[in-house]
Subunit: 123 residues, 2 copies
DNA sequence: TCTCCTTAGTATCTATTAGAAACCATGTTT
DNA sequence: AAACATGGTTTCTAATAGATACTAAGGAGA
């Protein structure tokens, strides 16, 4: 074992983290924050399809994990800015790798799915 | 836009893929298969805490996406071997990056969580 | 003034899913 | 005959995801 933790172990704290990061919305948020701070409703509009509740919940979890910061500006109406911490920035790159991999290899996956479904239907 | 797909768009097929990959169990399976083919029950024993149902379902999805192959050997009892495809191998590296990041940065995250919870309790 | 718009959320309800546990078929070993 | 191995499927329940509606505080327009 190279680290003090082992993600294959049940009850290892890394499992909690993996569970948190292995979340579509969390990855999209981390990815989106890579270019700098973004406000709540801006995130909501950019990440198409996310609901306010889920965005709020996910940001809260990411903040608790020390991956994003939440800064409130006493403007009217109040604006709240979310930004990556150094820890979050490191992870954001990995998140970006995943999302970009999906964009890049989409055609191959769609082809594989079509082939799989065709083989199933033929049997 | 650098690719034909954009993961920020609702209804973009990459969203389906991201949803698939943003799954704790899928990432652990891809990670575990990096060193070569592994049998069903072997996976089940190595990835602590996964149920047979979820393992079976997740493998089926990964196979449909063209990320793993399923090979049946007519031994008694039958053995079934799962392996990464070239496409899956590329993704496995990213999956490994995520799981290893979790193992490596666990202490920082636990500290952040403790600080967050302490600040909450104090308010 | 009254209504609508913005901000950033919370509350509530339902439909889907995740997970636990039991079951299945086939065949070998004890 | 009973127990164990293989690789699953079935069933049930508890937790979660997502949609929708609501909140509060203030600015702008009619």
């Amino acid at each position: 074992m190279r680290y003090a933790y082992n993600v294959y172990e049940d009850r290892c704290p890394t499992r909690m983290v993996l569970d948190r990061l292995a979340d579509k919305w969390a990855l999209l948020i981390l990815d989106r924050l890579e270019d700098g701070p973004v406000r709540f409703n801006h995130l909501r509009r950019d990440i198409k399809g996310i609901s306010q509740k889920v965005l709020s919940q996910t940001l809260k979890k990411l903040e608790r994990d020390g991956l994003v910061t939440r800064t409130v500006y006493p403007t009217v109406p109040v604006t709240v800015e979310y930004a990556l911490t150094p820890l979050g920035r490191a992870l954001g790159e990995t998140a970006a790798a995943l999302t970009h991999w999906a964009e890049h290899n989409m055609d191959a996956i769609l082809a594989a799915q079509a082939a799989y479904d065709a083989a199933l239907a033929e049997r």
